[in-house]
């Protein structure tokens, strides 16, 4: 089948969205933007294409009246199995790279045994990390494996009397090398294994199994032909597309938000390093925008630093901030001073929840200034970007918008981080069909699945 791909190379994460010819989302992919944008782009695309296959599987299952009820559960189980398979494959590669490094080390101390122990432990605990209902602290392998490696290395360092930092050094070197490679080897097998493992788990009649096997075949064997790709985001210049296939992220977020919520007139996108306030017309066309200047204060990266300082996952910040009883008044959202600000507050005895509550409000206050500069908040208002996944930020935004502009419909979506990539994919669809008609129809029909 023909498809269009949109890729959004952000400063923190690279996102990809695959659309079918009707403008419906087939798959989504996300990876961390590493120093190598080309790799990040390829990985995000590969992830989105894989996700497409899972969704094809789900769609094939949904078409069977007997299985429809199980479709969602079957697909999420399959994805869980696949994530575990992927995690183990990446661990194997990481271990091999780190061990080669350790074996060739000229240091008098041997790191080989401690590293073996750490990686064995990582492998053993992997199924528990991916157990049903478990939510990883991050979407990225680097973060998930990294935080566990750090903890296990601390214990191994004591046991073997080697410096902890040197052990961490092996992880840092190996992760860079592993992330810099695109390993698609064995992907197909892992996908098949995951789908088959899922079949084993469900108590199904033979007839149903037959149907499922054929759904697996459909998912795996359907050819995906990329009719057109469009790229956006900070790394856009590095994308392997011609210039006319590159769109500004402002236009992409505007169009993506419009596709998801057609009544959108104002969009706020808080990404890793920039915040954009965008006004769009009834067709999703940008009419005005403002973005932060040189300084990344109050952007997603700021929350990242705060999470690191508190030794929390990014996902954990919002829920903690929601528990604030008396949010602290914070005026500085300087990313560089984030750590100092936080330590100072903690030292003066303020509660973590209250500090976080104040920080979220401070971030949104900065965004409010950009919104005002771009022309205000009109009905409806859509919040996109990674920070839109944070419930505390959404709550602060809702409050401040109401205080300043009165009641507004505030749209957020689980796809908020994909809005830029969705917009890019819609531009790709437009390019591939050569006219606006397909796009208009797609938008009118609800471009999202």
């Amino acid at each position: 089948m023909k498809c269009c791909v949109g890729i959004d190379l952000g400063s923190t994460a690279t996102k990809a969205v695959v659309l079918d010819e009707e403008g419906c989302i087939l798959g989504r992919g996300v990876t961390n933007s590493r120093s190598n944008y080309d790799v990040a782009c390829m990985v995000a695309r590969a992830e989105a294409l894989l996700d497409t296959r899972f969704n094809l599987f789900q769609a094939a299952v949904s078409h069977q009246p007997d299985l429809r009820a199980h479709a969602q559960a079957l697909c999420s189980e399959a994805q869980r199995h696949f994530r575990l398979e992927q995690y183990l494959a990446q661990l194997r590669e990481l271990a091999a790279t780190a061990l080669v490094e350790a074996e060739s080390s000229r240091s008098e101390q041997s790191f080989v045994t401690p590293l073996h122990e750490i990686f064995d432990a990582l492998r053993e605990e992997a199924p528990a990390l991916h157990a049903p209902g478990e939510r990883p602290r991050s979407d990225f392998f680097r973060d998930v494996a990294g935080s566990r490696f750090m903890a296990l290395a601390a214990e191994a360092a004591v046991r073997h009397d080697v410096p902890h930092e040197l052990l961490l050094g092996f992880f840092d070197k190996a992760i860079l090398a592993v992330e810099g490679r695109v390993s698609s080897a064995g992907l197909q097998e892992r996908l098949e294994r995951a789908l088959r493992a899922t079949l084993e788990e469900f108590d199904l009649a033979e007839g149903e199994r037959q149907v499922l096997r054929s759904a697996v075949r459909t998912a795996i064997e359907t050819p995906l032909i990329e009719a057109c790709s469009v790229g956006t985001g900070y790394g856009r210049a590095r994308l392997p597309f011609p210039k006319e296939r590159i769109r500004s992220e402002i236009l992409c977020h505007g169009l993506g938000a419009h596709a998801r919520f057609p009544e959108t007139r104002t969009v706020l996108d808080i990404g890793g390093q920039d915040t954009k306030a965008i006004q769009v017309d009834e067709q999703g066309i940008v009419t005005s925008f403002q973005m932060n200047d040189r300084c990344a204060a109050g952007c997603g990266r700021y929350l990242g630093y705060i999470a690191d300082e508190m030794n929390l996952g990014l996902h954990e910040l919002g829920p903690l901030a929601l528990r604030a009883k008396k949010p602290v008044r914070i005026s500085s959202t300087c990313t560089v001073f984030a750590g100092a600000e936080l330590r100072d507050r903690l030292a003066s005895g303020q509660r973590r929840e209250d500090i976080l509550g104040g920080l979220h409000r401070a971030i949104v206050l900065r965004a409010m200034s950009l919104l005002a500069r771009s022309g205000g908040v009109r009905e409806q208002f859509t919040f996109t970007g990674g920070v839109a996944k944070n419930e505390a930020a959404v709550r602060a935004l809702r409050q401040l918008v109401e205080e300043n502009y009165g009641e507004r419909t505030l749209n957020t979506s689980p796809d908020s981080i994909y809005m830029g990539a969705l917009g890019a994919a819609l531009f790709a669809l437009r390019e591939s069909t050569g006219d606006r008609e397909a796009l208009s129809t797609a938008l009118g029909a609800g471009a999202t699945s």
Partner: protein, 429 residues
């Protein structure tokens, strides 16, 4: 090897003029010529030349330092001397340059001032700047207070007020430092030559009404205004330069050619823009490239009017020497109120058939950056054209983020392109 930069003959000639001027300045003391430091907006070049005095324009020195990548170092020097990060970067660059020996672009030392002629036309920092210079050079100051055009008009009382100060404050001080009497006939000759050059400059700027525009009224425009806005107004050199420039532009217009960029002639103009605010000088070439790579041409700009709004009809009038100088000072772009600036830019958008307009807001300029967002909304309202807003600085390299500016500009150009393709009605879903 670096590709050679394409330059118009007038640009080469201009470089010679400016270099010649710095040589002249270096010899000023031995030639017995008085040196007067003054600013571009409201400069009284004809009056100074009538006394054989030579003007030095600190903000021109600063922008030259910016283009020669020296401003970062100079600003750091001024900050070491106690000036805060928020102070106008022209001021700090100028102070830093002085602290480091006051060497001009030709490698020659600039002469110290015999007089500071403070023509106050709208920029509040000018007063502080000259206080600093007076502290350093301990020379006399002539202060010319130019009333702000609060209601958007120049009244006869305002003209009389400024002309009176010229007569009672500026001229006597010039007579004292140059030890010469004012030769009115000579001043009139100079003013008559100004008028001729001004006519030609206006013809150059108005050529941008054509499609395609044969000039870029901002990036090339800053070169075009060079001689007339600095030390050459009233000279034969300026008359000759503008004749050459006008002929060059008219020849390009006759052939239907676009503007000349550092990478050659720009063919196939895609966007026509009006720009408010000065360019960024530290990354001038990079900034310009962001426009011509998108085939965007600036058809009118306000920055090229800071030294005089000739295109709105003003010309120096030799028959009323002091009054005409007073009118000139009162009419500079820097002396206009916000509503007058909004009106001017809106007129430019309409008269030059621009697709949109851009505001380059200067981070370290409190006098002119204030109110620019209000201007943006108002102009959008009046012209139904979308405006873009970017933030850079004059000469502080720390305040230029290429990727940020590029993202905004690219988004804006794509937004304009998208607007054009849109059908009038919303397609039925």
């Amino acid at each position: 090897m670096k590709a050679s930069v394409v330059k118009e003959p007038s640009m080469v000639r201009q470089k010679e003029l400016i270099e010649g001027y710095f040589h002249r300045l270096a010899r000023a003391k031995e030639d017995g010529r008085a040196v007067v430091y003054t600013f571009v907006p409201g400069n009284l070049t004809e009056l100074l030349l009538a006394f054989d005095a030579l003007p030095v324009l600190p903000e021109i020195n600063a922008l030259q330092s910016g283009m020669r990548k020296l401003s970062g170092e100079y600003i750091a020097e001024a900050e070491r001397a106690g000036h805060s990060e928020d102070v106008c970067s022209y001021v700090k660059c100028d102070i830093g340059m002085m602290l480091k020996g006051n060497v001009g672009p030709t490698g020659e030392k600039l002469p110290e001032p015999d007089l500071l002629l403070l023509s106050c036309t709208g920029c509040f920092t000018f007063i502080k700047w000259f206080e600093l210079l007076r502290q350093r050079y301990r020379c006399p100051v002539a202060m010319l207070h130019v009333p702000y055009q609060e209601s958007g008009v120049v009244t006869p009382a305002m003209v009389a007020y400024v002309a009176k100060q010229l007569e009672t404050e500026v001229v006597p001080k010039l007579e004292r430092v140059t030890k010469k009497r004012l030769d009115v006939a000579r001043l009139q000759e100079l003013l008559a030559r100004s008028r001729t050059a001004e006519d030609d400059l206006v013809a150059v700027f108005e050529s941008a009404r054509r499609r395609p525009s044969p000039i870029d009224a901002y990036f090339s425009g800053v070169y075009y205004i060079g001689p007339l806005f600095t030390a050459f107004r009233g000279t034969q050199e300026a008359v000759d330069f503008y004749r050459l420039l006008r002929a060059e532009v008219e020849a390009r217009a006759a052939l239907g050619q676009g503007p000349v960029t550092p990478e050659g002639a720009l063919e196939d103009e895609r966007f026509r823009l009006v720009v408010e605010g000065p360019p960024n000088w530290t990354h001038f070439r990079e900034f310009w490239k962001m426009f011509y790579d998108e085939r965007a041409v600036v058809v009118a700009s306000t920055y090229t009017k800071v030294g005089g709004l000739y295109d709105r009809g003003f010309r120096h009038d030799p028959s009323r020497p002091l009054e005409t100088l007073a009118e000139y000072c009162l009419g500079c772009y820097t002396n206009l109120s916000l509503p007058a600036r909004v009106e001017l830019i809106s007129d430019y958008v309409r008269d030059y058939q621009a697709d949109g307009f851009l505001i380059n807001s200067v981070k370290s300029c409190d006098s002119f950056s204030a109110g620019q967002l209000v201007m943006l909304r108002e102009i959008e309202e009046r012209t139904s054209r979308a405006g873009a807003f970017i933030e850079t600085d004059l000469v502080d390299p720390r305040y230029f983020s290429a990727s940020n500016v590029k993202t905004r500009l690219e988004s804006y150009f794509q937004m304009l392109a998208q607007e054009r393709r849109v059908p009038e009605t919303v397609p039925a879903s």
